[in-house]
């Protein structure tokens, strides 16, 4: 079964309290040199049949309506095993939904 991956991240300007808590824990574990942590979500969608442009478009729609909230998050869609498309371009496409 082909797998489509949706990565969701809090937008840069949105405070990420969870990421901050993780960052705060790192020195206690002896990890140094990390200056920022942002925590997001990864969804793996197994789809029936080939990942056509139509399937990809429907996943994009799903990502923009349910999997992410365009007010506070951006998303990137890619097929597992394929290189994610240029994240900057994808973030721009996600931004169109906001």
């Amino acid at each position: 079964m082909p797998k489509v991956v949706v990565d969701v991240m809090p937008k840069p300007e949105i405070l990420d309290p969870q990421g901050k808590a993780v960052l705060g824990a790192l020195p206690r574990l002896g990890f140094t040199g990390v200056t920022e942590v942002r925590q997001g979500k990864r969804f793996e969608l197994e789809v029936d049949g080939e990942v056509t442009d139509e399937v990809r478009a429907r996943v994009e729609q799903l990502a923009a309506t349910l999997l992410s909230n365009p007010v506070i998050e951006s998303y990137v869609v890619h097929v597992a095993g394929e290189e994610p498309v240029d994240p900057a371009g994808a973030a721009g496409a996600a931004g169109a939904g906001s």
């Binding site: 405070l15 309290p17 349910l66 506070i72």
Partner: protein, 222 residues
């Protein structure tokens, strides 16, 4: 008036909200998330709690419940809708209200008697208050940080859509101390504190929350 209170799987304060509706002088009607039916109500309350276990994002799954399709249509026609805490999150996820609610900046659940300043008092939910009036209403949330981009914040402040602001202490990192907002028309209001818990002296920190439920009568006869 008949005021519907929606129960989602994981709603916590639906019974208290129905009780507050009654104390406000109205008939409370229980609405079920799975029924695309508002049962002829004149207004709707989306109560607090942890609908769908707060999975994905608070309110994100409830927003697609069958009853919400009806609430969206009714709200756009002008029906009064009040979202309290988790209900506020559902209204933001539905994009009936601007902005979103994220985890408290200090990462802890907060439960306190919260001082608020009422700002928008021409809505069907807040007309019992005076502009600038300070009230104490119970607050309890883990994800109550109100956020929106700067342009949205400027716009809603400019258009008077801020319903209430935190006073003395900002309990959750909400931008510009915002505790509640409305849509442009004012019929849809979201509030992070819980007015339904502040309606009886016996069980709370006073009765300052009752105004949210008595305001509706004034709205009906206006």
């Amino acid at each position: 008036m008949k005021v519907g209170v929606v129960t989602f799987p994981g709603s916590l304060d639906d019974v208290d909200a129905r009780r507050a509706v009654g104390l406000g002088g109205h008939e409370a009607v229980a609405l079920w998330h799975g029924d695309a039916d508002l049962r002829g109500v004149d207004a709707v309350v989306l109560p607090g709690g942890f609908s769908y276990g707060d999975y994905l994002r608070c309110g994100a799954i409830s927003r697609f419940a069958p009853v919400m399709g009806e609430v969206l249509v009714a709200a756009q026609r002008g029906m009064p809708v009040l979202g309290i805490c988790n209900g506020f999150q559902v209204l933001c996820e539905s994009h009936l209200l601007p902005g979103a609610l994220i985890r408290n900046d200090h990462q802890r659940f907060v439960c306190r008697d919260q001082r608020l300043r009422m700002e928008r008092v021409d809505t069907p939910w807040t007309s019992a208050y005076d502009a600038g009036q300070e009230v104490t209403i119970v607050l309890k949330n883990g994800e109550g940080g109100y956020v929106a981009d700067a342009a949205t914040l400027d716009r809603i402040e400019g258009e008077g859509q801020v319903v209430a602001r935190y006073v003395d202490l900002n309990p959750n990192g909400s931008l510009r101390d915002i505790a509640g907002v409305s849509n442009a028309r004012g019929n849809v209001v979201g509030l992070m504190p819980h007015p339904e818990h502040s309606v009886e002296a016996l069980t709370g920190s006073g009765t300052d929350g009752l105004g949210f439920f008595t305001s509706l009568a004034a709205a009906a006869f206006a």
